[in-house]
Amino acid sequence: MGELRLMKGNEAVAEAAIRAGCDGYFGYPITPQSEVMEYLMAERPHERTGMVVLQAESEVAAINMLYGGAGTGKMVMTSSSSPGISLMQEGLSYMAGAELPAVVVNIVRGGPGLGTIQPSQADYFQAVKGGGHGDYKLIVLAPASVQEMCDHTKLGFDLAFKYRNPVMILSDGAIGQMMEKVVLFDPIPRRSNEELIKQNPWAATGKQKNREHIIITSLDLDPAGQERVNLKLQAKYREIEKNEVMYETLGCEDAEYVFVAFGLSARICQKSMDLARAKGIKVGLFRPITLFPFPVKPIHNLGKKVKGMLVVEMNAGQMIEDVRLSVGCNIKIEHYGRFGGIIPTPDEVVLALETQIIGG
């Protein structure tokens, strides 16, 4: 078993990045995720593994440092919170267009605008539907515990390089700030330059005599060429949809109703499930772990078995659109949410189930 620690979610992301063999972190501080860079600065990973940690002058600079690092095949990462992630959207679109691997962590806070510093899930649309311009997708992971903050950081790098695509870890201020037990995976050595070149023949690692120039770009002025780029990207996204869907179900075997929730909301719904079952309501929980690719088929199949679904999110109703599209039939699907940094309590979620779905 790996090393056992009590850690904040933000710290687990930072430690996992070092252990995953990350080459560089570039970021700019913002509550509630500043512990990621604080932890990295205090750990001095340059001395442990050679990993670079740099505070950029802004989020725009940080995401473009990621573009540069990823273009050379390096394993790079940044983290921020909602307003900072908004500033990074142009860079993310460019990275998706140039097919560059990177991990971007969003510890979401209440919006819109500068909003609050309290937890929220209101950046679902931004993460899953684009955020930047053009037809692109991020792979989006939604951890629900400090353990998953650690594990998804490593998984994020694996997926980013497997598909040459940016990966977003969509978490929130509560999971970032809370401490839980974590079993840390054993450190993986950073790749040597030789390994990097061998594993990433697409990367701009210096002109070799025996091959053509490598150009990392998202620009193709010929529309036919740009259409080919788009077709290639879309084929990749279909492949990701086929291979990488992750989800968890709890108590769905005999369920008449289900909560559908990701991240922190799923933790709250798990408690609500216990409370509702104590009252004799047969309710289960469906938790998407990947938000893109969305678990369309499993939710569709569940929709054939149950009478209704309550989608619980800390936003005004975003993932519910994907749930409704997935189910595509006539069961009752409603949304319950709190906004702006307010976290729903387990009791109010049960009440919402009783009034909006069962009695509604």
């Binding site: 009590l6 201020g173 509560a174 933790r267 709250i268 798990q270």
Partner: protein, 184 residues
């Protein structure tokens, strides 16, 4: 076994670190734990609170609206959390600065004069450990040897010389805590 605890007081009283030591001790005893602080503007000069859950099973919501135990260190927190204790639950408070004492009759109420005692002993920094000792007397969730390990893990190495004082404070708290009868 699942114990859901809220610890609340002023910023600077050691509320968060008391919770962290309790949680880390639970980890060392191979329990599931969660430690969810209030964070943000309210921490800057006002009240601080932390929800600690210790369980033998996977923990669901780290955010709760009712608790098995409330450990209360100021009046504002008493006003806010007395009503959040589950019927039959436990409320521990330090009477220092309390003007309106708890009034519920359906919960078990204990007081611990930790601030006074810490002042007398000149150990004001480990006031929070006296309170923790009182709690552990009533609910021995983690064994003393795991508290020792929890202290080692939660305190930076340069503060390890203070561990004996912390353990002494925990023992003082065990003697100091006393039941409170709510009168009509």
């Amino acid at each position: 076994m699942t114990e859901e605890i809220i610890i609340a007081g002023f910023g600077g009283q050691g509320v968060l670190s008391m919770g962290k030591i309790l949680a880390y001790s639970g980890v060392m005893q191979n329990k599931e734990v969660s430690w969810m602080p209030s964070y943000g503007p309210e921490m800057r000069g006002g009240t601080a609170n932390v929800t600690v859950i210790i369980s033998d099973e996977r923990i669901s919501s780290p955010i709760l609206n009712s608790f098995d135990t409330a450990i209360i260190l100021n009046q504002q927190s008493l006003d806010k959390f007395e009503k959040a204790v589950k019927p039959g639950g436990l409320l521990i408070y330090d009477p220092n600065g309390i003007t309106r004492t708890p009034a519920r009759k359906d919960i078990n109420i204990y007081s611990i004069a930790a601030a006074d005692e810490a002042g007398k002993l000149g150990l004001s920094k480990i006031f929070n450990m006296i309170v923790l000792g009182g709690f552990l007397k009533l609910k021995p969730l983690v064994a003393p040897e795991y508290i020792h390990k929890g202290l080692e893990k939660s305190l930076p190495a340069r503060h390890h010389k203070l561990i004996p004082d912390n353990e002494k404070a925990i023992n003082i708290g065990k003697d100091l805590i006393e039941a409170v009868q709510v009168l009509n």
